[in-house]
Amino acid sequence: MTALLQVRGLQRRFGGNLAVDGIDFHIDQGELLAMIGPNGAGKSTTFNLLNGQLRADGGTAWLGGRDLIGLRPREIWKQGVGRTFQIAETFASLSVVENVQMALLSAAGRVFDLWRAARDFQREQALGLLRDVGMQGQAERPCSVLAYGDVKRLELAIALANRPRLLLMDEPTAGMASAERHELMVLTRRLVAERGMAVLFTEHSMDVVFAHADRVIVLARGRLIATGRPAEIREHPAVQEAYFGTGLSFEKRRGAPQ
């Protein structure tokens, strides 16, 4: 089986700092792939390269028959790549359901419709997406009053609106309590199974990673230092080294809430 996304030699520097230093990896369809690494390892930068928000200095990222590198974010979105941000990006002055409707409107190519009222546009679908992420009860609330965990869930619903093939989730569980984290990952796993999409996510809580990921790739200082099943990664000497290097072991991280 060929991979859904195939990344080769991806590179990006900021001044003299090689934030992403020629990494190779792939994601298969239906896979939940975790990307881990200490702070500043280049995880978010990789995400920004894959969704076109940052320009790559080199490398390719083939999705289906297309190289995503060099495309704009909105073109990459059209290719079926959704994303969430490390710090959630939603529309604060729209209500929860309007946030999702905005994404549905864009998917339907109706953004430049100036006249018809948007209020009832695909409302059922929007509510359905909110139900999928467990937000149906808050559909009419202003986005600005949500708890942060709920904002992240809403962001997930927005990203799902155009039925992506690949979902990039940057620290989806940051700011959540432990029980909530596992809940969200169970939900993500269910979405992956139902929609046949793939998910690439970053995560600082090793608990979550080892419990939910199919496979793990490890980044340190912009380089890919290991890849494998969770159990292999846990025992991997280079990984332990990278984490010990920051003064944090898996064991310490496991207990420490964010």
Partner: protein, 632 residues
């Protein structure tokens, strides 16, 4: 054009660069640290000049000319410290636009206070002792005093650089300019730092004004003209950068001086009076710099986005609101009959409606789209002039010209919008202002086509609309239709996208929305509707002058929108009506109506930061015990 003429012009340019730098350096320092765009900075400059006049008049016999003149600086510094401590300190956490409005209110108050103290006549001070004459330069005479000014600019730059680089205070100022949180973390006593920076900036403006005493008369129009120039300099140089301000002052002054030196250019059978286009040149420099370097010559991209007051989701109108809108419309429609004995009522009502539509169009772009336009009068003016020129020069029927007015305005908005949506915040505000000034400058200086400063006369409506009552009904339908149309767009998918683009451009792009194109179209729509208002205005007055697109009208519109509340849809309409009516009634009963208006604005900003309608809405919600909810 001889070499000696060019040399004299270049030296002139250097002298004006120094004068500009005195004002701009303070403005830039103040912005860097407090993040407040101080509209009143030019007023301190003007006050410096007036004060120097009186001080020299009274005391130069006792303490000498120079001490008396220079005393104006510290006195203004003191005034600045007072203003900061008593007023501005209360608005540091208010939204950017309210801060602007507060400082603009200060402009109005200071202007009238000056009028009260010194009268309306221009006041010319004495020559500087020993520097009253002129020196000989390649056979031309050059004022000796200007040589002193030329030297003072670099001296000030050197002193400020020393102050900023070599003292602890300077380190704090630079830290706060780069990163406010960091300055907070350093344990800086912020209040004291802010006050001292404001006092220093004001003192420099005052000194800059005082130093003009031997050169130009003190006049009441200096406040806005000097702050306009200073804005351009600060934006071109990069907000917060003192060396940038110096560089920009040099660049702009020399470009203007060259324009004067060039005189009239001939070519392609046309005579282009370049020497009269200095204003256009100044703003063109700014536009070019901002497009090439969006944060100015020596500025840096702002590190963190500013906090914005959170806005509740818009709610579509309920039956109550719709019913009251219909009642208001019907009441207005019967006004010609209700006011049969008082013809002035419908004339005033036309003005109110035109203002309301204009304000609604500005709100459309400023509120939901989040693009702060400081030159919205440009589109009003393009509509007015477009319609008038089509009638007068192309012989179109009035009805067709009125329909074409919004197209002319939309075309202008399309041109500027393409550049404007690539900028944000203060830079966007300044570019829109610059565009309005260019349009104004061209209109003002193109005598043959636009009638120059005299404007155009004989712009009358068609015969069937000649009756004021009928014209009122036309205006009412256009204004109501325009406001309703804008509202409808806000609830359309495009309206959602406007708000979405304002809230999070990143999220928009990540779900396939082209934010720049959305904002561009929003710009064009807002411009078009302003053009309708402009067209209606032209035919209601019968004559127009470049004033229709002056800075004053742009600022008036801003005040209307903020007065009513930027977060509500009906706010701008109410704000426009209250403002225009106040202006009309108060202006006729007192010479000091501007101070009164300024006082009202200050009160509003301090007491009701949400605007009148926002305040009422919140009050109603409180009574009903309904937290959150929507904006109407």
């Amino acid at each position: 054009m001889t070499p000696s003429a060019v040399l004299v012009q270049l030296l002139n340019g250097l002298a004006s660069a120094s004068s500009l730098f005195f004002v701009a350096a303070g403005l830039s320092l103040i912005f860097g640290v407090t993040r407040i765009i101080n509209f009143a900075h030019g007023s301190f400059y003007m006050l410096g000049l007036y004060l120097a006049y009186s001080l020299v008049d009274r005391f130069s016999a006792h303490i000498g000319f120079w001490p008396a003149l220079l005393l104006a600086g510290p006195m203004l510094g003191l005034l600045g410290a007072l203003v900061e401590a008593l007023l501005l300190r209360r608005v540091y956490h208010a939204p950017e636009l309210l801060q602007l409005l507060a400082t603009f209110a200060l402009v109005l108050v200071i202007k009238d206070a000056t009028l009260w103290c010194w009268g309306a006549e221009d006041l010319l001070g004495p020559r500087a002792p020993g520097l009253g004459g002129a020196i000989d330069l390649l056979g031309r005479r050059f004022p000796a005093y200007d040589l002193l000014l030329i030297a003072l600019g670099p001296v000030l730059l050197g002193l400020l650089t020393l102050l900023l680089r070599r003292t602890r205070w300077g380190t704090l100022v630079r830290a706060a300019t780069q990163d406010r949180e960091m300055a907070g973390a350093l344990g800086v006593n912020q209040a004291w730092l802010f006050t001292s920076v404001f006092a220093l900036g004001t003192m420099l403006a005052g000194l800059g004004g005082a130093l003009q005493l031997p050169r130009e008369p003190a006049s009441l129009s200096l406040d806005l003209s000097s702050v306009g120039d200073a804005f351009v300099v600060v934006v071109v140089g990069g907000l917060g950068s003192v060396p940038g301000a110096f560089l920009a002052a040099l660049l702009i002054s020399e470009v203007k001086a060259l324009c004067v030196a060039l005189g009239t250019l001939h070519g392609f059978g046309l005579a282009l009076p370049v020497s009269k286009l200095t204003l256009v040149a100044e703003f063109l420099v700014m536009a070019v710099v901002l497009v090439a370097r969006p944060w100015g010559l020596m500025g840096k991209a702002p590190s963190s986005s500013r906090h914005r007051a959170l806005e509740a989701p818009l709610q579509p109108s309920g039956p109550g609101l719709r019913a009251s809108a219909v009642v208001v419309f019907l009441l207005l429609a019967s006004l010609p009959w209700l006011s049969a004995g008082a013809p002035y009522v419908t004339v005033l009502a036309v003005d109110l409606l035109v203002a309301a539509l204009f304000a609604a169009s500005l709100h459309f772009i400023m509120g939901p789209a989040g693009l702060h336009s400081f030159g919205h009068a440009a589109y009003f003016g393009l509509g007015a002039y477009g319609a008038a020129l089509l009638v007068l020069k192309a012989g179109w029927p009035m009805e067709a010209a009125l329909v074409a007015a919004p197209l002319a305005a939309a075309l202008g908005a399309m041109l500027l919008g393409w550049f404007a949506v690539r900028l944000s915040g203060v830079y966007l505000a300044m570019l829109t202002l610059a565009f309005a000034q260019i349009v104004w400058g061209i209109t003002f200086q193109w005598d043959g086509f636009t009638g120059g400063s005299n404007g155009l006369t004989g712009v009358w409506p068609a015969a069937w609309l000649a009756d004021k009552q009928v014209y009122f009904l036309l205006t009412l339908s256009a204004a109501a239709g325009g406001a309703w149309g804008l509202r409808r767009v806000l609830f359309s998918p495009f309206g959602y996208a406007m708000r979405a683009g304002r809230d999070s451009a990143l999220r928009c792009e990540a779900i396939g929305i082209n934010v720049l194109r959305v904002q561009w179209l929003a710009f064009v729509i807002a411009g078009g509707v302003a053009g309708i208002a402009g067209g209606l205005f032209a035919f209601s007055k019968g004559s127009i002058s470049p004033d229709v697109m002056g800075v004053g009208r742009s600022v008036d519109a801003l005040v209307m929108v903020l007065l009513g509340g930027v977060q509500t849809l009906s706010g701008p309409l109410v704000g426009a009506v209250v403002f225009t009516w106040l202006q009309d009634t108060v202006a006729r009963s007192t010479d000091y109506w501007r101070a009164l208006l300024g006082g009202v604005i200050l009160l509003l900003v301090l007491a009701f930061p949400m605007g009148m309608v926002g305040f009422l809405r919140d009050a109603v919600w409180q009574l009903r015990g309904r937290p959150g909810g929507g904006a109407r």
